[in-house]
């Protein structure tokens, strides 16, 4: 069989294929409704649902709930008849499979292990994702776009969230499921897995690029300076910019909110930045300290 077909029809991977199809469909539907509403807004007309009437719960709503329940039940039953859940060999602590993968919904985080040490990829970043999600309603003070699909009225919120959800969360999961083989090396889905394959990638640390040992004191200081200026610059630069161009926005946000937003945003953007550094420039660590490496 074609290895590509083989990998996407592995029983547990069928779920990922279903996820890709569903997410694509609903993302399309959401943006389509957003653009439709944007046209209505631009024309000064009411958006979809604004002039809704009330109708009885019993039976219209109860009927549709029942219908959805039946459709979902039929779908899951067909899926369960067609595909059997796999059961591998009995657990054996002495045989480590290669690659050993976490459950699929955590593969995005496992993928981050290529770019960050475990304390960041496995603990700090996931915690910050939860904190960030919890914070969203309190840091997004844009009163518009409440209760209807729209893009024009909340461009930045939607772009940032979609980037985080669709790219950093879901795309990394898809990569972890379909593109990672033995040794967590990159394999195209049609490529045969080769357990003997070793890729020698001479990675280096940021300071060694300019010829300074990253484990020496100057290396430590330069690393601290780079990380520090990323954080401080990320905090100060937008502040300066808005202070000049949009001071109302800053005063509406207030200091606490501004710092929270920028901290979460800087942290989120550190992921693609670190990926580019690692993949394009083969840089492993930016800053080496006696306690942890970044």
């Amino acid at each position: 069989m074609n290895p590509f077909i083989q990998i996407i029809t592995q029983p547990d991977n069928i779920a990922i294929v279903i996820m890709i199809i569903m997410v694509t469909f609903f993302t399309g539907w959401a943006f389509q409704q957003a653009f439709d509403n944007d046209k209505l807004l631009a024309a000064g007309r009411p958006v979809d649902g604004e002039n809704d009437k009330f109708i009885d719960t019993f039976k219209p709503l109860v009927r549709i709930e029942l219908l959805i329940a039946i459709v979902v039940m039929v779908g899951l039953t067909v899926w369960s008849i067609a595909v059997d859940a796999p059961l591998e060999e009995i657990a054996n602590p002495t045989i480590t499979p290669n690659p050993a993968k976490a459950p699929w919904y955590f593969l995005g985080l496992q993928e981050l292990l290529v770019y960050f040490d475990p304390w960041l990829a496995g603990v700090v970043l996931p915690s910050l994702i939860v904190v960030g999600l919890l914070a969203i309603p309190y840091i997004d003070i844009n009163p518009k776009g409440n209760g209807y699909y729209t893009f024009a009225e909340r461009k930045y919120a939607i772009i940032i969230f979609s980037f985080g959800f669709l790219v950093l969360w879901l795309l990394l999961i898809v990569i972890g499921v379909f593109f990672r083989g033995p040794g967590w090396l990159w394999y195209w889905p049609w490529q045969e897995w080769d357990h003997a394959r070793v890729v020698f990638e001479p990675t280096r640390d940021l300071t060694s690029v300019i010829g300074i040992d990253s484990r020496s004191l100057p290396g430590f200081l330069i690393g601290a300076f780079v990380v520090g200026s990323y954080l401080a610059g990320g905090m100060i630069a937008p502040y300066r910019y808005w202070k000049k161009n949009n001071p109302e926005l800053l005063s509406q946000l207030g200091m606490v909110r501004y710092i929270t937003i920028m901290f979460l945003f800087i942290t989120m953007m550190s992921i693609p930045i670190k990926m580019v550094l690692r993949l394009v420039f083969l840089i492993k660590y930016i800053w080496i300290t006696p306690w942890f490496n970044v």
Binding site: T57, V72, N146, I158
Partner: protein, 257 residues
């Protein structure tokens, strides 16, 4: 022969029928309302809803589908519990028995497995829809927060279930997952700064999760109890707060400009 309407009339006038549904249903406004608030399951709904609640394009029914998946998982999960012992001597063979001995065991297990994948997928899509309609904005900020905890609990439900078959897949997925715990700053033995707290593999956060320094019998029992008792209980409580708040916050959000 009696006609269908006559039979249905007769059934509705029957003593037993009346005792269950408490009153006649004559399709008046009053009766349609009574049908909702006279029923413990339906009365989670208001008596009347806005049209958008019935049209699929706004909510996609995703929250409801997530809830449906959860109920299905509770039912299939309880049945699976009849056939399963959480011990490393029996767990794996119990699953094999399910495949080869138990009537409909295969489809029972499949429904639970694929239902779990499905629930994780739809809960994420539900969150995406709530974001895209801006439904986390006032007055629904708190309910979004409840939702975030439900999202995490959904992941944890699935994660703790992974180990229960005691096969290589679950064993190593849980090993990889809990090894992250060892990297926790201060509290994991490989995490930064933990040496200052004298943290070792035998007293760190990973040890607490697994009930040991390795994935073994204690870890299986712990994941089983989290999976079948503790996390479902917490989730059910939060779901009811979630549904309650959907209503108290004014029902499904409507355009506010």
């Amino acid at each position: 022969m009696k006609s269908l309407p006559e039979i249905s009339e007769k059934v509705r006038k029957n003593l037993i029928w009346k005792s269950i549904f408490r009153r006649d249903y004559r399709n008046s406004i009053r009766d349609r309302a009574q049908a909702v608030f006279g029923n413990v399951f339906l009365h989670l709904h208001p008596v009347q809803v806005r049209e958008s609640a019935v049209k699929l394009r706004f909510t996609w029914g995703m929250g409801g589908i997530t809830f449906f998946a959860f109920i299905l998982l509770v039912i299939t999960g309880v049945v699976l519990m009849f056939y399963y012992h959480p011990s490393i001597d029996q767990a794996y063979t119990d699953i094999k028995d399910l495949e080869f001995q138990v009537p409909f065991g295969v489809i029972l297990r499949n429904l639970h497995r694929w239902g779990a994948h499905f629930m994780v997928i739809v809960v994420m899509i539900h969150m995406f829809r709530v974001f895209m309609t801006g439904s986390y904005k006032a007055p629904r900020q708190f309910n979004w927060g409840i939702g975030v905890f439900l999202l995490v609990l959904t992941f944890l439900l699935s994660f703790t279930g992974y180990l229960t078959p005691w096969d290589q897949l679950g064993f190593w997925a849980i090993t990889v997952g809990t090894n992250m715990g060892a990297a926790t700053p201060l509290l994991g033995y490989q995490g930064p700064f933990s040496e200052y707290l004298h943290i070792t593999p035998y007293n760190d956060i990973r040890f607490a999760l697994l009930g040991g320094a390795q994935v073994g019998g204690n870890a299986l029992l712990r994941s089983y109890i989290w999976h079948c008792v503790a996390i479902p209980l917490i989730s059910i409580i939060l779901m009811f707060v979630h549904f309650w708040r959907v209503r108290k916050d004014g029902g499904i959000s409507k355009p506010q400009k």
